[in-house]
Structure formats: C-alpha cells, structure tokens
Subunit: 130 residues, 2 copies
C-alpha cells in the first residue's frame, strides 16, 4: 500500500485530463484534443506523453502499430494526492482553514451551497451515529 504516485506537472495534467476523458487514445488523438485548448506543437504533446509513460502515470499499449495511451491512476486518486500535498504546503496541513477560505469565494451558486451543506449534514450524521 501507500503506492506513492509520481508527481504530475502542470503541462502533464492537461494531458491527463484528456486521457481521463477518454482512453485509450493514440497520440494524435490526444494531440488534436489539446490543439483546441492549447497552442502546443504536436511534438510537445508527444514529449509529455512519453514523460508520463516513463513516470508510470500512464500505460502504453504497443500491440498495434500505433500506440495507445491510458491512465494508470484514476483522476480521483491523482486529485487526492495533489490536493493533500497542496494543503500541506499552503495551509500548513489544516484542511479546515482551506475550506473556510474557499467557501468565502464568490463563485459558488445557491445550488452548490445546498449540495455542500447536504454533504456536511451527512457527514456529521454519520459521525454522530458512529
């Protein structure tokens, strides 16, 4: 356990996002997707894919003549990992302080708030009955 997953850089995250959307995908598939959102040259994307594969964050299927790439970790796992280190770094490890700050943010809709509140309710419910 505690399979520490390698760190994913900013640019690499973009690539991962594409693969989490749909996978497996060929390099050119990924390249097209990214050409819409970024102005990276194809070779750049290719490099990022290669690096991710080296780091074992994505896998490569070499059975066909054209390789396909696919994530080895779920988006959720990666988010969790990143988030954990982020919180530790920026908020001295206390989750609450961060939540407090973010919840002040204005981009939350009434709907969002409702949903968040229900999650909290559920949580404290579970805690109480445990």
């Amino acid at each position: 356990m505690s399979n520490k997953l390698p760190s994913i850089s900013d640019a690499e995250w973009e690539v991962m996002n594409v693969l989490w959307e749909k996978s497996p995908q060929t390099a050119s598939g990924v390249i097209s997707s990214l050409q819409e959102q970024t102005d990276w040259k194809p070779k750049t994307v290719r490099t990022l894919l290669d690096r991710l594969a080296q780091k074992k964050v994505i896998g490569v299927n070499k059975d066909q003549k054209v390789y396909t790439f696919f994530p080895l970790y779920s988006r959720d796992e990666c988010q969790q990992a990143e988030a954990k280190s982020f919180i530790k770094r920026i908020y001295g490890g206390t989750l609450k302080s961060m939540l407090v700050q973010f919840m002040q943010e204005d981009s939350l809709s009434e709907e969002d708030i409702k949903e968040l509140r229900s999650i909290l309710d559920e949580k404290s419910e579970k805690k109480r009955t445990k």
Copy 2:
C-alpha cells in the same frame, strides 16, 4: 490592480511561512526556525531568502548591519493566488468539485463541520437578500 504575484516554490513556501509567523526577521532567525522543521543547511535557506527577495515576494531592510526580511504579501493573498491556480489545474476550474472532494475527507471534526456549515448558511443568506 491585478498585481500578479510571482510564483512561490515548495521550498520557498516554508520560508514564507516562517516570515508570516513573525517578521521582520534576520536570516539567522529564519534559519533557526527552519532547522527545527527541515534539514536544510543554512546556505540553502539563505539562497531561498535571496530568491524570494529577487522575486519581490519579500523585502529586505538593509539599514542595520544585519539585514532583515519581511513579506511583501499577506499569507492570505498568496494562498488565494496559489489556490486559484491549483483549482484550475487540478479541478478544471470548478471550485465546487474540489470542495466536495475535500469535505469527504475524514479529518474534519464535528466542530469544524459546524463552523463550515455556518459559513455556508451565512453565504446563502447573503445571496438571498441581495
């Protein structure tokens, strides 16, 4: 406005945290603080201070014989900035998705939950009456 503050690296954040705790401080003050928490050599800390000064994230008072360093931005500002780019990167920009995930985390106490809920309440109250 929109004074974009420079990016602060992982190691630099440690230094900033020390300065936000107390400032101004001399280099050796910062070094001592960090020697407790990390195993960085004094020169390493010094380099970090210099880089932060170069980047204009901290200021240097050179009036005394021994320089003192102090933050040029509040911790809050820096957290906000980091957090914004973090969310964008990891959560595709949607704040809520992140909050949802974090609130699932188990490290929140009953007390924390209460506080968070009251923040939400306040928020939706404000929204409604606006």
